[in-house]
Symmetry: C2
Subunit: 288 residues, 2 copies
């Protein structure tokens, strides 16, 4: 594969995309914060299969970090990322720095109201405002036909679907399945920061979700009861601090007393300073 | 001139723009709420001169009306507008209806903070949030190279410059001079709703601004004093109700004690239910 073009400013990226579109190309886009893992690679491969050009952004967006420590410790591995993206067949890497992305006087925010306040938003104030704003900026600059997002960050994916629809961003948002390690842990750039003990315990996030899904399959319909059992299981098997365990409507994140319709099982657990999330979406037929 | 294409949905408009760009065209865009007057025509002519394709949107955006009565009474003259745009050489008219523009579940807003709270924002809560959101939607759909805005709506122009910069909308925002009637009244779609008496009095908005500018030219540097004199003059010569008279920084709308730098003189006056605005921007050399 030829080395991907590297674009460092919105103007350069926009010019690249406009030129590609003039030549009749379709553009698939994978936004990332770098520290790429095999989850990201599946997104790039999907984009590669469905478009004639593939752009990957590598940008650790400061406005979506509620915790300065997390921002500081977020892994930055650009040389490895670049090599991996070249191998995966990316045509361009959009890697602006903060000065290129945010004017010192920047004051515009994209907001989605209460969707941003549920689940991860509860303990990460301002996080989704930062996500919505940076994704709007990235999509406005890259102007892709399709953008690919992993379902591991389910709330993010849902919120971006809403923003793209509401702001007419003119880009299909393509949800992609969670990619997991052999033992079931969802791939995340933060996994490398886990201690060996926490890494072992972390497998329980996916186990608890699988068990909960099985219970729904076996007829469980009480949301509060199921969430309580999920929390108990996490407490029994991990030393992590539970941020939330949720059994909610998959579209608007409202708590579900009765488990039916499009259901999201989601959880977030902190192991030391490393916060992990995972989820399962389940379709439960509504019985009259 | 051939009749302009009429596009009724974001998808149709986006497809039109993408096709034009694939053919190598540049797109100039004039967003309007219809009820076109000669001010709008100068924007279309400027767009015509600087781009190979011209798109004009005609959409009375409900989310920017703080007053339901104003929304209801806003003039709607599509057939006249279309004829005028054909004559002025527009290639496409983007005229979606509300259902095409806003999903019933729409919940995304573009916000610019305190810039939206000054001047017109004080008496029109939510107005600029609606403007920022709809302009982001329009620019995302039309994807112009340049968008043309009249300086009559100075605060709107400045806010849109900020939004386009902050969200990387990839479009130059082109400010265009205020177009006035023979007696000096700034052209506005709302002028037709004035009573004959109010129409005569309304000329004082521009007179007061001209006088204030002349006073600055003659050395006046006290912001509060000048604003007071402007208000007195309006009260002496019109029966209108003053909404605001402002002598402020032209970039951030902060009140100016001392008149220097980039200065905006702005005012808003209500004649019955018709609210008129006008402004002058003045560059005053900063003396050490």
């Amino acid at each position: 594969m030829p080395a991907p073009d590297i674009l460092r400013t919105p103007a350069a990226m926009l010019a690249w995309s406009k030129a590609a579109q003039r030549e009749g190309h379709t553009i698939g886009f994978v936004p990332t914060m770098g520290a790429l893992h095999k989850g990201h690679v599946t997104l790039v491969e999907r984009a590669r299969a469905e478009n004639t050009k593939v752009v990957v952004s590598v940008y650790v967006n400061p406005t979506q970090f509620d915790n300065p420590e997390d921002l500081k410790k977020y892994p930055r591995t650009f040389d490895t990322d670049r090599a991996l993206l070249e191998k995966a067949g990316a045509d361009a890497i959009y890697a602006p720095d903060d000065a290129a992305m945010y004017d010192p006087e920047a004051r515009t925010w994209v907001e989605v109201g209460e969707l941003a306040d549920a689940l991860c938003g509860l303990s990460r104030p301002g996080h989704f405002r930062g996500v919505c704003t940076v994704v709007t900026k990235l999509l406005s600059t890259v102007r892709p036909d399709r953008a690919y997002f992993g379902q591991k960050d389910y709330q993010q994916l849902r919120i971006i679907e809403v923003v793209a629809r509401d702001l007419n961003l003119g880009c299909a948002i393509v949800p992609c399945p969670i990619v997991r390690e052999a033992d079931g842990l969802a791939c995340s750039s933060r996994n490398v920061r886990l201690t060996p003990q926490h890494r072992q315990e972390a497998v329980w996030l996916s186990k608890v979700l699988r068990d909960a899904k099985a219970k729904i399959g076996a007829g469980e319909r009480e949301g509060l009861k199921l969430a309580g059992e999920m929390a108990e299981q996490l407490e029994a098997h991990t030393s992590g601090e539970i941020d939330y365990v949720a059994v909610v409507d998959a579209l608007n994140f409202a708590d579900l007393q009765k488990i039916e319709g499009e259901v999201l099982l989601a959880l977030a657990v902190k192991f030391g300073s490393v916060r992990l999330i995972d989820n399962e979406r389940v379709s439960v037929p509504v019985k009259p």
